[in-house]
Symmetry: C2
Subunit: 379 residues, 2 copies
């Protein structure tokens, strides 16, 4: 992290306590305000998803334009992705759950890119066979979230080079080494695959336009750390005659250790994986979840806890308590001191385990349906 | 061209009068000596090709090792390539004719890579559709030279990304931006596709090993300007468990304008294209072929001409007069002054047009057989 900054966000690491207002300014994105969420409600006829209401998805580019297009009969498609470097953890699920809601409410197609090439190129310890097998593994978690079989295409990069590479070439020709160095902070010891890679990540943003033979808008939901890729894509794609993709970006789900950085597989104690057992979840949360409570029960009851730095509360807010009324009561009880840290953790443990029990069942069932989602079967 | 050098050789341009001895030193390659040509004669039972006898193919890496392997029952395969930026000219045919001879004498497989991706990435004025269609066009010239249908695979990059890209990733991971900057002289305004490209050109050097599941030696014949690519490949491939490819490299066929640089499509007056008419060939050679003769017939008869700077003589030596005795007589007559420049040009014109007449007929017939050579039909 540069010394003059309190936080640093790149596609490969997030450090420090992220100031999302500053990040919007730095990246040049727009806040999602009430007029936009109202417009979504008006078009979909549904209450905006709690992740919108609570600012989990907090910023965007061209979302108003996209909604106007949709309302006037020009639909869009969704594109999101995942770099398969390990098993899925619950931090990954946040944008996926929201993306699934968007698909359901707008009745649109989704391309889900699994970038096994990226994770291979950027990790010394992973070979391509491993990242490819992780892509197939992670795909099960995507399917388990209920994405429409008919409208969802899971595209694994190394399996679909015949689609990706020729189109990536056209994008790559418009991107200089200077640009990727400035955008991603590469030094000259970066490998040449890393430099080329962003052009592969740009392809799904125009793939439906290529297939249809005419431009169709694209909306990309993603964690804000992926923004450098899509800033470049928005700069380059119009030069090739395509539309700029619109985007909607989320904050990060914090690790158990505290509300700094983002949950990461490289700190497995501080992440909950979708494959974790009930017991593991209980132990991790009880042992590691940073608490905003006081050090003794007496003090806590007297002065109350701070939900804004309490990871258990934040996880409920970001993902595990969709009901605003219930969340509000938890918050108030915690602040007042009537809800103890241990009790708050118990609520979270119950929610996480309930979610994972169902997810793990669906994940088993997804194995037989995987082939129905993969690009190779689609085309 | 750097000011302190008399010539400069990169995969994209050759300038100045090339000193091939200096180039061998600079690139670290070995000369082809009599012991090597004798060994080839011994193994193949054929007189070495005139391009070997005359030093047109003049340098190599690990050719002795490759021949030893072959003699002890471990065969190799051939790999060469072409960047399809225009119609084929006769300068391109020199290494192809020699490669065909190698295939015939050693009875080995050839992978011929057509790098339409490269030519797209490196040329502002070419789109990928154009370089792809030129790849198909150039393939006809390859087929016309008589390569064995059974043992020859023509691999067009943009059609075969599913083979090339996943393997190129593994190579790319081992090559830094510093390496390609130093090897190819890229500046930071180079596009990211240019930086990545060398990993694509390395794949055919190991593709047969990948397919067979065990290492098989590879011999790459090429014009010496491609050497930076294969120096990198030889450095990287052993790190991935592959053999270093062996190589055999040719000098350049000079443009009509004189024995500097190399024949190039970008100076079409100074190149003979395989599609040129009899009349065009006659006009180009008569008008542009740099002569080593004297300015008047009288002077020429008195002092004689210089074959070493005479392009017509050089073209006969490099490609169009396989018979050493006939070539020697032409050389002696020219030096003595009994053979005039116009007469020398007439010999060349007759040879070139005879070659092209047959080539153009074969080229027409090759159209129906193209599909038999393309990788997509092979695999």
């Amino acid at each position: 992290m540069p010394e003059d900054e309190e936080f640093n966000v790149t596609p490969w690491s997030v450090t420090g306590k992220v100031d999302y207002t500053k990040l919007m300014e730095k990246f040049g994105t727009q806040p999602i305000d009430l007029s936009l969420t109202s417009r979504i409600q008006e078009i979909t006829g549904s209450e905006p998803h709690f992740m919108l209401r609570r600012g989990i998805f907090f910023t965007h580019r061209d979302l108003g334009w996209l909604l106007d297009q949709y309302a006037s009969g020009n639909p869009f498609y969704l594109y999101t992705g995942r770099g398969p470097s390990d098993h899925t953890h619950i931090g990954h699920l946040v944008p996926w759950i929201f993306t699934r809601w968007l698909q359901e409410k707008f009745h649109v197609k989704l391309i889900f890119q699994l970038t096994d090439d990226e994770k291979f190129l950027f990790n010394d310890n992973l070979d391509l066979e491993k990242t490819h097998s992780l892509a197939l593994d992670n795909a099960l978690d995507i399917i388990s979230l209920g994405f429409s079989e008919k409208d969802t295409e899971i595209l694994i990069d190394s399996d679909n080079a015949s689609i990706l590479y020729p189109n990536a070439l056209k994008i790559a020709k418009k991107i200089t080494l200077s640009t990727v160095r400035a955008s991603f902070g590469f030094e000259m010891d970066a490998n040449i695959g890393m430099a080329f890679y962003t052009s592969i990540q740009a392809v799904p943003a125009v793939l439906e336009s290529i297939r249809l033979g005419h431009n169709i808008p694209c909306l990309i939901p993603y964690g804000i750390d992926q923004d450098p890729h899509f800033r470049i894509a928005r700069d380059v794609l119009p030069k090739l005659g395509y539309l700029k993709p619109a985007s909607i970006m989320s904050i990060f789900i914090p690790p158990l250790s505290g509300v700094e950085g983002k949950m990461s597989s490289s700190d497995p104690n501080y992440a909950i994986f979708v494959t974790d057992s009930e017991n593991t979840v209980r132990k991790k949360i009880n042992k590691y979840a940073f608490s905003g409570g006081k050090t003794s029960v007496e003090e806590h009851k007297k002065f109350g806890g701070d939900p804004d730095i309490d990871v258990s509360y934040q996880w409920l807010r970001i993902m595990f308590e969709p009901d605003d009324t219930k969340l509000k009561k938890i918050r108030e009880d915690y602040i007042s001191g009537s809800l103890l840290s241990g009790e708050l953790k118990a609520i979270l443990i119950e929610r996480v385990n309930k979610f994972l029990k169902r997810h793990q069942e669906l994940r088993e069932k997804a194995k037989d349906r995987l082939h129905l989602y993969l690009t190779s079967s689609h085309k």
